[in-house]
Each structure stands twice: as C-alpha cells, then as structure tokens.
Amino acid sequence: MKQSSVVDLLLLLLAISLLTTPAFSDLVLSKVERRIDVTSQIARVTKTLKVVNSGSESVSEFILTFPKFLGNNLAYLSVSHSEGKGKSKRTLVNLSVREADSNGIPDSISVYSVALPKPLSKGDTLTLEVVAAFTNVLQPFPEKITQGEIHLVMLQESAQYLSPYAVESQSLSIKLPNARIESYTKLENTKLQGSELKYGPYKNLQSYSYSPIVVHFESKAAFAVAEKLVREIEVSHWGNVQVTEHYNVVHRGAQLKGEFSRLDFQARPNPRGASAFRHLLARLPPRAHSIYYRDDIGNISTSEMQSDSKKTELLIEPRFPLFGGWKTFFTIGYGLPLSDFLFASEGKRFLNISFGSPILDLVTEKLIVQVVLPEGSKDISVTTPFAVKQSQEIKYSHLDIAGRPVVVLEKNNVVPDHNQHIQVYYKFSNINLLSEPLMLISGFFILFITCIIYTRADFSISKSSPTYLAKLQWDEVLATLQEVQSIIQKCLATHDKLEASLRDLSRTGDTQTCKAARKSTDSLLKDLSKELKPLLGFLQSSSLASHISPKVEELVAKEKELEEKLMAKHTTVVEGYEKKSSGRDIENRIASQQQKIIALRQEIEDLLEFIDEI
C-alpha cells in the first residue's frame, strides 16, 4: 500500500512538472484555507476557497482536483457557497458536483467539476466551502503490531493546495488526535501547536504546485469498517417501522501480530491492547423501541442503552474485543414509531428516513438499504441527496400473496456524512391493511365450517357395506335405548308421585285424594307400558342389540315387579288407613314389601346406569 502510494506520488510529481494547461488560468484562488481532521479513521477535509475571476470571460464551472491516491478514496464531497451578505444572513447552498473527464489533466489527478450558481463574470469573487471525506488514507505504519504496541498511522498530503488555478495565499492545518506524534515533514512555516499542525501560509503559488508531506502519529480511534452492511427498513402501516441492520465489521487498523493474551488485556492498571476497540456507539432515532442486538448464534448480552427525548444511544460491545484484522458479525434491530417517519404529500405517502448506519464513525464499504413497503404499494419513487444504485425486488413475508415491493439502494464507501434523509414515495390504500386479518378470519371460518360439515355429514364411501349398515342399525338401537330409558325414568317418577301421595296420606289421613292419585298413576303407567312394547319388540328383533336386549327385558320386568309391589304397598297402606289401624301396625305390615321395593329400585337404577354406559 505504502509503496504504491509512493509510486503515485512520484508519478504525480512527474506529471505536474510536465504540465502545461493554460485553459483554467482565468480563475485565481485569492485565498485557500484547508483544515484536515484526522481524529477519527476518516480524514475529513474542509476547504474555504475564495475564487476570483481574473480573466475576461465569465466562467460557470469550477474544477476541483485531488491527487489520485486521495481521489480514489474520496467517500464524500460536497461543495457549497454562501449567499447573502453579512455573517448572520449567510445560508449555505449546495452545488452540484460531478466527476469530470480529465482532458488535458494527467491521470494521477482526480478531477471534479462544480457548477457555479451563476456564471462568474470578470472580477467577481465567490467563496466556496468544500467538504470532503476520505477513507483508507490513514495508513497504519507499521502494518503489524503486537498486542502491547501503540497504533501508529501515517497521513500523506500536500502542503500546497493542488489546483489547476494559481493560488495567491493558502494555509493548511491538520488536527491530530491528542496523542503521540511520531514525526512530520518539516517545511518552512511549519508549526506544531498542541495537537494541531500548521503549514503556511504560502503565497503566490503556481497552478499544480505540490509539496508532499507525511505525518506519522498515534491514533486511538476505532478503525471500525463495515465490509458489508445490509439495512432492512420495513414499513408497517399498523404503526411501526422496523429497522434491521446486519453488520460485517472488521478492524482495519494495524493487524495484530502474535499472541492475544486476555491476561494482558485485562491487566490493571496498564491494560495492553490499546489498538483494539471494545465498543461501538449507535445513535438511534428518538423513541426507538424493541431494540435487540444479536448474531448468528444468539443474543449478545453486552450492550447498554440510554434514551431520552432527543435520541436513543445504544452502546454495543461485540462478543470479543476487536484487534487489527479481526472480524465480527452482528445484527441490531429496532422499531420506530411510524408517525415520526411517514408523511403524506400530494396524495402520496413518503418515508423520510436516514440513509446510513446509526453507528458513529463507522465506514461502510458496501451499504445495501432495503426499504420494504407494505403489500399493495404502487408508484414507487426514491429521492436521495446523492447518487445511489437503485433496483426493486419482491419480498414475501407474513401471509403475503402478491409480495411486498422492496426498494434496494446500494452505495459503496459510505461515511457518516452520508447520514442524510432519503425519501421513498409510494401510494398505498388503507383497505389493503385489512386484507391479512380478513384472510386469517376467513381461514379459521373455513376450518370451523369444515369441522361442522365433517361431523354432521355422512362420508361413508359405500352406503350398502355391512359395517355401514351395522352402524346405522346401532344408531337406531341407541336411540331406542334412550327412549326406553326415558320411559323407565317416567315410570319411576310416577312411582315417586305415588309415594308422595302416601306421605300426604300419613299427614292428612285423606284416603280419597290418595285413591285418586292411585288411579291417575295407574292409567299413566299403562300408557307408558304400551309405549314400551314396540320398542322392546324392536330391540329383540335387532341382531346388534342381542347382548343388550336381555338386560332391557330384565329392566322392564323389574320395573313391572316394582310397580306391582308398590301398588300392593299402596293398597295395604290405604286399607290400613281406612280401617283406622295404628301407624305402627301399617308399618309392620308393609315392612317386608318396603325392603323389596328398595332392593328392586336399586337394581333398576343399576340397570339404567349399565344401559347408560352403552
């Protein structure tokens, strides 16, 4: 890596020395201020350029250049210019930037062209603010370190601003992390103030002037790079936006060489392992809920969450500390309230959600954002503040039939500066919301209906098969049995009435009512026994009931006997009362009958129970 960049540098110098391109010389940069922030793993360059048109024609295009080895690692570039006069009124307006073809400019330089808001006429000045973020420009050096060593990185830049235009005055300041500085290139006007390194100001520079500098310093930042990040944003109109993010994280700093000793890592007070990072901080939107953090093999129990009304902070700790070159994989997921992210405009709905990862200072090499819209969404369009690769898919999820449309956005080399909002527009009617519940309801409805039909209907294949006929017959037998039972029950009830009349007799001594009761029961019992006859005949004739019919006959016979006994008792008691014999006398007379009645009654009940069990 380092060798190649040195080669780049040489090529660049060679190219610059050969360069003769007067086409851009109309513009002059009267003042250039550059600030490079390397406190994290991303080199963030902020430039303020004061452009003066010294030529005769008006110019509508401004060319930005970077050395190729930086330009290749350019992750983010935005150019804005301030409008309005006075500090308070200034508003920044973003200008469109595109990669230009480098006609006439050597290959070792990357060229970007900026369209100016209005053509710059002669003598006019314009101030441009350029923000650029580079990844992978902090080269670990040495490339492999042991656990105990500190993590040193190297930055290559040019002390002079590389530009196709002449520069009148320029300065560069590099903000280094608050740690050891191993070495830096010393040129004239070089100052180191605390952790800030200053070059310049340099006056009246030719176009394409270049003086390489190298800064070698310790970095304590986490060089966390997501090799691949898949963010799935699923919109549910039931009130939730579910975000699931799958991270493949690697530590891109100097690689660990030799042993990893947990003892040294945990040693107090001087833990060795400064080059490793333990935590990543994710700043989730406010009101994020149902947060989880897991990987392929289950939940990862090391995470902390803090939330207030402004933000939700999730401190996630991978399963193991990540040393240089170590990798890990994890998934975080959270739900967001729909009302915070979904809005309506012009008959369409749009989802307004941030594009990049919520993890701070994380570089994503390949970011795939999948926005899953509800089933039945139409007319989908996406607006993004920067160029991304777009495509559409279909995803089948809970009980889908047509599938849910998925908008897939892909972008390489994403830095936190890309965490801007994207808008996904679509049309969706609320009726579709009800389709799945209705489907479930009708599913269960059909299930129950089938059950009902199954139990009610007759599904036997052959209506004349012996088993089927036997079953029919058996049903008939059972029905008859039930009738028999109910009749016997009625008989017993009648007997009870008779007994009750006897009790009344003992209280009132009124034999007439008792006799009347006797008469009515007599006729009732006769009717019942008449009803019983055909049933008995049927049971006897039925072959299936052969093992039951003796029991039933026994039952009926017993019932008859009981009836007779009861009548006899009744007669005795009534006679006794008519003869005015004493209560004890009557009791003595009926005692033997009484015992038999009890026994019979019991037998009948047993038989009834037996039949009941069939």
């Binding site: 289950g298 209280r507 019991q602």
Partner: protein, 779 residues
C-alpha cells in the same frame, strides 16, 4: 358423538354429554397451552437459543435439510467433523426430529410465515409436549375413561422429568420421541380395544415415526410383545390381540428397516428378537384356538399333546439357533447401551466412553423426587385402581410402569420413559379418588337434605330407597369418623370398614364415605396437586431452563452473565480460516461445528473410540508429543475449557481423568496411575510430574498464576502445582472474557528447522556466506 346423533338432542343426558365434550376439549386445549407455556421459561429467562450439546447437532442437520432438501440430506457426508474420517450423517442419524422440524419450517415458509430454522427448532419441543399430553389423554382414556385421561394429561404437561428434556431450545430426539412413544401405545391399546385393522395400521405408522425419532423404540418393540405374552399366559387371548400385534410386527419391522440408521438391525440384533418370538407364539396360540373351535374337546386334548411335543422340539431348535447366532456376533448381538441396561455395571466395566456420560449413570433417590415428585406416591394407588377391574388395557399400563421403573433405575436418561407411565398411573389414581370423594359428598349432601325432610314424619322413612340407604350410612359414617377421625379417608382402607356395616347388596354403595372424611381427603388431594404444580413450575423455572451455553450467576451487584462459550465460538468462526481444524474434547464437538462452523476432530457422536482416544492421548501427553499428534491430524487450533478462574466446575480439568482412561484404553502408554498421587486426582504441588507436564494442564493454567499471584484454582479449591511455565509448541490466540474457553494455536514447526540449520551450519564450512543463513526466516 352419540349425543349429537341421537334423535332427541334436547334430552338432559344428551345436553350433559355435549357439554362434557365441549368442556373436555376446552380442558385439553388449556392443557396444551400449559404444556407449551411452562416450557418457555428458558426463552423468557434467557433467550430463544438452542441448548446444550446434542441439540446443536440436530439444529445443524436441520439447517442443512432446510437448505439442501431431503435427498441431499440422505446422502450427506459431513466432512466438518471426525476429521479426517468424516461422518455419513444421513445414514447414522435418527431423522425423525430433523424431518419433523424441517417439515414444520417448510410448511410455515410456504405459507409465507418467515420463521427462521432456529426459531422452529427452539419451539419444536414445547409444541410436541403439548401433543404428548394429548396423546396421554387418549391413552389413559382408553384405559380408564376420560376423567383419568384429563388428569393424566394435566400431570404429563408439567412433569419435571419431561420438562427437563423438552424446554424451549432443548431440541433433542426425546422431545418428539416421547410423543411418538405415548401415541404408539395409545394406538396399540386402541387396536386392542376395538380390534380395528385401521388402528393397527396407524399403530405401525406411529411405531415407524418412533423408530425414526429415537433409539428408545426398542422399548416399544419389547414392551408390547411382553404384554401380548402376558395376555396369552393369563388366558386373555382374543382376535383383537392378534390384530393389535401381528400387523405391528410385520409392518413395523418393514418400516423400521427403511430408516437408514436401523436398516437390517431391525431383524439382526437381539433387541428385536423378543417381538419375533412372540409373533410365533401368538400364531401358535391363534392356531390352537382355531383348532379348539373346530374340534371336539376330546379330540382337542389329543391334538394338544401331539402338537406340544412336536412344538417343544421345534422351539428348542429355534432357540438354539438364535442363541448361536447371537453369541457369534461380537457384542453378543447387543449394543453397548442396551447391555448396560440389562447389566448396570456393564458400561463402567468395559466402555469408559459410555460410563463417562453423566446421563448414563444410575439415578439417585432424590432425583426421583425431583423428577416425578408426588407422582411417586400416587403410582401405587394407580396400580391398584388398574386392578379393579383388570382389563387388557390396564394390564398394559401396569406392565409399562413396572418395566419403566426398572429401566429408570439403570440410567438417569430413561427416567423420561418412566414419567409418562407415572403420569398415567397417577392420573388414574387421582381421578378414581376424586370420583369416590366427590361422589360420596354429592350423595351425602343429597341424603342429608332429604333426611331432614323425613325426620318429621317417621311413618314412611323411605320415600326413596336411595335416601334410606344413605341415611343409614350417614349414621354409620359419623360413627366411623368418630372412631378414626384422624384417618384421611383412603378409600381402600375405608372400603372394608363400610362394607360389612351396610351389608349392601349393591357394590357401588360400598364406596360411599362419610362426608367430613371425603371433604378432608379432597382438600388433601388438592393440596397434593398444588404442591406438585408448585414443584413443577419451580423445576421448570429454576432447574431445567438453563441453556448451559450461557451461564448466569446472581451476585450482590445483580445478574452476571457468562457468555464465554459463544464469545469464543464467534471468534473462531470469524477470525480463523474456514478450513482450519479445531481439536477439543468431544463434548464441544457439536457446538464447534454448529456455532463456529469449523472442522473438529471428535464430537458428541462417539462412534469412533480410537479417534477419541487419540485426542485423549494428545491431551494427556507432554507438549511435544501432543504437538506431534495434533500436527499429524492437521489440527491448527486447540480449544480447552477452563473454569478455575470463575469456578465453573464442569471444565476440562475435571473431565481429564476420562480423557486419560479413554486414551489409555487404546494407547497403553497412557496409564491412569501416572496421573494420580496415591489414587487421588490432584493438581496442586503434590500432583505427579506427568500430570503437571501434560498438555491439558499446561493449556489450562498457562499464565494463570499471573492473575492473582498465587494461581488459586476456584474449582479445585487449591493452588496449582506448577505455576510459571512457558509454552514451546503452542501459542495463545484467544481467551474468553472469564477465561472459560482458551484457544491455542499450534506453532509452525520452526524448532525442527532451526535444529536442522544449526546442524547444517556446523557441518558446512565457514566459507558459506552468511547470506544463506540470513535467508532463514526463523532467525
């Protein structure tokens, strides 16, 4: 059903039946919910994750199945385990569980319900325990009616023994096998009760499912023949018995032979011979009954003597052939695990690899109380209830409980087979007891209200014979209560006391107990049930829910989580090469292949004793010899589990003697005595030099002394013997947060090269330029 089809659906009995049906369905649904939800403690307290060791293998197989389909699954040769031998998974695994979960997953996904394979696997066991309780209901209903069925189902839904194997995440064969076992028994009893060929066929299919799921199917194929034999001996032979048994043997054996892991074992190994023998016997008996039917009694006697004498000869010949066959096969036709069932000391004597597994040890008494709790007391009552009256079905459950009690006494693992039997018995006991008590209470209440009415008029004391009998009995009952008010009203004791006094001509009335006694007894029964429920919930929540890959400990500053295993498996899976081989003791093989996706040398499927012994030998050898063994196996990383820092007792040092034993069983230069000082296993300064120099010791305690300056081992509660040493052939590459897992890398063979170059240097003349030496990368 009869109620539905009866012509007068309005009658009270029909209504009662319908209501009863609805109620039992509702209760069954609730039991299913209970069975499912009591097993979710592990998900709530920990997380939705696969537990322990074997489930990880099953999970991995299921993943493979869901990804590659069934045909690939049958042909799967797994090269990530048993390196360099590999393992034919499709042919050596019981596929029932995997296919079940795979099918569930497939169905759900084709309905567009996107559940992950893991989720399906985690919840398979609770779902199947709900099925198992329903199967228990069916089985017990066939034996003793639906009341007993419901009680048994409720008991089974929460029996701790079964919970221990079927909590959410415990994705093991037993989870579905218990359901299959009970369901097979149910269909057998159902066939026996109905004599329907339809159920007999279903029975064979259920048996097939059982064979697919678990090696415990041999229990079925021995228990059912035993019951058939019992029926024949006690003169209960019937055509229904024949229909229940003969198709099962024929179809069942054919189907069982379809399962690759069983194959021809279904007819070759002696576990199955009992069924064939009984198959022959039942045919002979059937023939005898047939002949008896067509011959006159006299002729029959002649025929019997004739046939018996010939039959005896034939039988002897057959038995002799069988014995010869069995004796000629290496283990006598019995597999090691089965042999240790019959002779509990067999395993510990001959097969250390079986004896080293804790679940193959005989259980202790407390574990009975822990696992089946109050059921142990209810079982005898249930057995008695089964004898009054004894039917084919109830004799089967009695036989089942007797056999399973024996087997559970041999192996802790088989407690699981006992649990359903105990639940069925206890369900019967409970339901009968409730029947008697509630019956008598109802009766007494009815009687007392009537008798107050009757008290006024003495002229006719008996308007209803029922009342009379009961009135007499209340008096009697009160006397009894006075006599022994302390008695809890066990019905069996009560019976003889009541019977003579009432002199009832009616059997039923004999079971009527005094009111107070019944109420007290009911309350006590309910308390017993409540105690059981409390115990079960406690067991499910506290004892059996730990996934064992995540450990927690409650300390003063809150819950402490030890997630070291997954930490190191994750490290292995992300930071080593895909084809690297990892050596560890076999316990961690399944987890390493499933979680870390790395090739292992040995795993929990202990099919190759020599290979395990090789790893055991390496672990018990000094560093250099171990390095050579591992290097010859192409091993790149060695993983050891070490609990000394935080006091995790089941670590490799505690398992080490088994490694020595198993290693020594194959490689005689490893002698157990070398690792013991006076027969004691120790790692302190008294330990033998062999112990202190073996690889396991070194890898476990490497730089351990630097943690506290003394090297105090919290598991062994002692300071370690050898404190400061360096590793020459291994280097530490990863140690988990609590030091529970330590991973070492084999150093490349530089020592040898250095030695050779030194020799080379000394040999060659000094004229050789120093450049050539400098090129050597090792200097």
């Amino acid at each position: 059903m009869a109620a539905l089809e009866s012509p007068q659906p309005g009658t009270p009995t029909a209504m009662r039946n319908a209501f009863g049906n609805v109620l039992s369905v509702l209760i069954l649904v609730l039991i299913g919910v209970l069975a499912f939800s009591i097993r979710l403690f592990s998900v709530i307290k920990y997380e939705s994750v696969i537990h322990e060791f074997d489930p990880y293998f099953n999970y991995r197989v299921t993943q493979f199945l869901s990804k590659n389909g069934i045909y690939e699954f049958w042909n799967w040769f797994d090269d990530r385990t048993w390196y360099p031998l590999g393992r034919v998974i499709g042919g050596t695994v019981y596929p029932g569980l995997t296919l079940t979960a795979g099918t569930i997953w497939w169905v759900l996904n084709s309905l567009n319900i996107p559940l992950s394979v893991e989720t399906v696997c985690v919840f398979t066991a609770p779902v199947f325990s709900a099925f198992a309780s329903w199967a228990t209901y069916l089985l017990t209903k066939e034996v003793k009616g639906s009341g007993a069925g419901l009680a048994a189902a409720a008991l089974l839904a929460m029996v701790p023994s079964y919970i221990s194997r079927s909590v959410a995440g415990s994705y093991d064969n037993e989870a579905v096998a218990i359901f299959a076992l009970i369901f097979t028994f149910y269909l057998y009893i159902k066939t026996l009760n109905t004599g329907s060929l339809f159920y007999a066929t279903l029975n064979a299919l259920a048996y097939f499912y059982m064979v697919c799921s678990w090696g415990g199917y041999t229990f079925i194929i021995n228990l059912i023949p035993m019951h058939v034999l019992l029926c024949i001996v006690t003169g209960r032979y019937s055509p229904r018995l024949y229909i229940a048994y003969a198709p099962l043997v024929v179809l069942g054996t054919l189907l069982a032979a379809l399962v690759p892991v069983v194959g021809f074992n279904a007819v070759l190994t002696s576990e199955h011979f009992a069924s064939f023998l009984v198959f022959i016997i039942i045919h002979v008996v059937a023939l005898v009954y047939y002949i008896k039917g067509i011959l006159s009694p006299k002729m029959f006697k002649v025929a019997v003597t004739l046939v018996v004498s010939i039959g005896m000869v034939v039988c002897f010949i057959v038995v002799a052939i069988l014995v010869a066959l069995v004796a000629s096969s290496p283990t006598g036709g019995w597999s090691g695990r089965s042999l240790s069932l019959l002779d509990p000391t067999y395993a510990s004597k001959y097969i250390p690899i079986i004896a080293s597994v804790s679940e193959h040890q005989p259980p202790t008494w407390p574990s009975y109380f822990m696992d089946i709790n109050v059921l142990a007391f209810l079982v005898p009552a249930g057995i008695i209830a089964c004898f009054s009256p004894l039917s084919d079905a109830s004799s089967f459950v009695v036989l089942y409980i007797v056999m399973s009690v024996y087997f559970s006494g041999v192996m802790v693992r088989l407690m699981l087979v006992l649990a359903p039997a105990a639940c069925i018995m206890s369900g019967i006991a409970l339901s009968q007891a409730f029947d008697v008590f509630t019956g008598s209470i109802k009766y007494q209440l009815g009687a007392s209200s009537n008798s107050t009415d009757d008290a006024e008029d003495n002229t006719s004391t008996n308007n209803a014979p029922k009342d009379d009998a009961s009135a007499g009995k209340t008096d009697k009952g009160e006397e009894i209560v006075k006599e022994r008010s302390s008695k809890k009203g066990k019905k069996k004791e009560r019976e003889p006391a009541d019977k003579p006094s009432v002199k009832s001509k009616i059997k039923k009335k004999a079971l009527v107990l005094p009111l107070e006694a019944s109420i007290v007894a009911l309350l006590l029964l309910i308390m017993l049930g409540a105690f059981y429920v409390i115990h079960c919930v406690w067991a499910a929540a506290e004892a059996y829910s730990a996934p064992s890959i995540v450990l927690t400990s409650q300390s003063r500053d809150g819950l402490h989580v030890f997630d070291d295993f997954r930490e190191s498996y994750a490290w292995l899976s992300h930071n080593t090469d895909v084809d690297d081989k990892v050596a560890s003791w076999w316990d961690y093989g399944y987890q390493t292949t499933a979680m870390a996706n790395r090739t292992v040398i040995v795993d929990n499927n202990t099919w190759n004793n020599t290979h395990i012994a090789t790893v055991g030998t390496a672990m018990s050898s000094p560093e250099k010899a171990a390095w050579e063994i591992f290097n010859s196996l192409d091993v790149k990383y060695v993983l050891v589990v070490f609990g000394g820092l935080i006091g995790y007792p089941s670590d490799d040092i505690n398992k080490f003697l088994w490694m020595v034993r198993i290693g020594g069983g194959v490689f005689p230069h490893i002698k157990e005595a070398d690792y013991l000082r006076d027969g004691q296993y120790r790692i302190d300064s008294e330990a033998t030099p062999t112990m202190l120099n073996c690889l396991m010791y070194k890898l476990s305690y490497y730089r351990f002394v630097e943690t506290d300056g003394k090297g105090y081992d919290r598991v062994r509660r002692t300071e370690i013997g050898k404190k400061n040493f360096k590793l020459t052939h291994f280097e530490e590459v990863f140690t988990s947060h609590h030091w529970m897992v330590r991973i070492y890398k084999l150093k490349p063979p530089r020592n040898r090269i250095r030695g050779r170059t030194k020799k080379l240097k000394s040999k060659t003349s000094s004229g050789l330029s120093s450049k050539s030496v400098k090129k050597n990368p090792w200097i």
